[in-house]
Amino acid sequence: MILRRIVTPAAVILLWEGLARAGALDVRFIPPPTRVAATWVVWVAGGGPAADPYSGTWLLAARDSAIRVMLGFLIAAAAGVAAGALVGWYRAAEDLLDPLVQVARPIPITAWVPFAIIFFGFYTASAVFLIALGAFFPIFVNTSAGVRRVPAVLVRAARMLGTPPGLLLPRVALPAALPYVVTGCRIGMGAAWVLVIVSEMVAVKSGLGYSLWNAYYFLRMDLIIAAMASVGGLGFLADRLLIWATRPLLRWSEGD
């Protein structure tokens, strides 16, 4: 099983290396995997040519990006779950909030960049704002859908057992919607990693996205690929972490 899972990525990397060595690729623009790996080692562990400005800076960049992702994601999760639950449960909240959210949702988050820079400057706050905004929508949409789909018979049962109407949302609808909420959070977490890179490319002067964009000015394609792989790996880890952390909450549901 595990062998079958790594065979395709391994084949792609081998093919890529082979083509580069055979001269079929222009290694100025598509450096071979061995070059990328060597660059990555220097970027993470230091050393390498004395003039390499990236030497040993990976951890700092990854830390900055990760902190922004976490802050933005936490804000998005808190706001998305709260607003989504209200909109899914209360008709009045749906009438008041849903149209605004549904119109704002299709606007690409990148379109907010000028506002982010004007209001939050070239700082972490800008990135956190963009990440929170982008991760909010999937969490909101999934939570409200989950709350809307709570079986009516469960609500009846809860009322029959004396649940005050005001507590039906926290005691019945929200727990019943948890699988949806977690799915929304996973999608939101994915969006957060996309947006941290975007915001660091254009607005904030540190992090993996900044390294990546900066490397482009020097045509350091090896470093760009190493940065891309770093984001992929960290995003994957964040998703695994989220699944692991929410597992105790979902033990009751099918197919976990």
Partner: protein, 274 residues
């Protein structure tokens, strides 16, 4: 009288077909304390609607419903409902499901634990306290459904086809257990079912309902000691009588539906052929 239903009418608006549906048409009955009463009728006769009105999930269009002398205003733990589809909270364990109503009542933890333990013993779920509903068989789920209302000490139990989704053997076991519970707790029971045998084995009295619009067409007393033998002469005679009644009802309703459907086409066929 524990339950008084007087002239209850229920009319639904069928939005899809854009017309009213008369589900209950002047239903009246009176149920004494500690009686075991069954409402029996074909599918769609409105028997579940009647139960929902007693439970407070739905309001009658006309008529009055009194439970323990008070008009029904919304659902409450004094009327424990057991649902056909169990309606357990899937994110809670057996123990937590049974404690759900007690938490609402703010029963102190010590008392709560004791009551939950007693209820689990009463329905025979010992050893399954920490399982989730999806890990249980249908029969065991329904025992949780029963336990979580019994623990609230209701004045009346409302059972909405509680064993309809179970296999025949499990159903029989559950009926026996229900009788045991009823004997030991002595609550009033209103059971809704479409199974004539279930009604005969369990109840003091059977209200036989007509197909839509739902009316009570016959009241059958079953003054026989329990446990009852379905093969006995008395029950055979009652079964035959009830089957005849229901068969006639189903036939009538089916013919009416056919008439309605044919009537909805304009009668052009005959004129054209002439």
């Amino acid at each position: 009288m524990q339950v008084v239903v007087d002239g209850v009418v229920k009319r639904f608006v069928d939005a899809r077909r854009g017309r009213d549906v008369l589900a209950l048409d002047g239903v009246s009955c009176q149920i004494r304390e500690r009686e075991f009463v069954t409402v029996l009728g074909p599918s769609g006769c409105g028997k579940s609607t009647l139960l929902n009105i007693l439970a407070g999930f739905e309001e009658p269009t006309a008529g009055t419903v009194l439970v323990a002398g008070k008009p029904v205003r919304g659902p409450g733990p004094d009327r424990g409902v057991v649902f056909q589809e169990y309606a357990l909270f899937p994110w809670l364990t057996v123990e937590e499901n049974i404690a759900f109503g007690l938490r609402n009542k703010k029963v102190p933890p010590d008392t709560r634990r004791r009551l939950v333990r007693d209820a689990i013993a009463l329905v025979g779920l010992g050893g399954f306290e920490h399982r989730y509903p999806r890990e249980l068989s249908g029969g065991m789920r329904q025992r949780v459904g029963l336990a979580r209302v019994l623990v609230m000490n209701p004045s009346i139990l409302l059972l909405d086809e509680p064993f309809a989704a179970l296999d025949a053997l499990t159903r029989q076991l559950m009926q026996d257990q229900l009788l045991e519970v009823w004997t030991s707790t002595r609550t009033t029971v209103v059971l809704v079912t479409h199974s004539v045998d279930e009604a005969l084995v369990l109840s003091d009295r059977i209200y036989v309902m007509s197909a839509r619009p739902g009316r009570i067409i016959q009241v059958v007393d079953v003054p026989l000691p329990r446990p009852r033998d379905l093969a006995s002469l008395e029950l055979n005679a009652l079964r035959a009588q009830i089957h005849r009644l229901i068969a006639a009802e189903v036939r009538r309703s089916f013919e009416e539906q056919l008439l309605v459907r044919e009537g909805s086409f304009p009668p052009v066929g005959n004129t054209q052929s002439r």
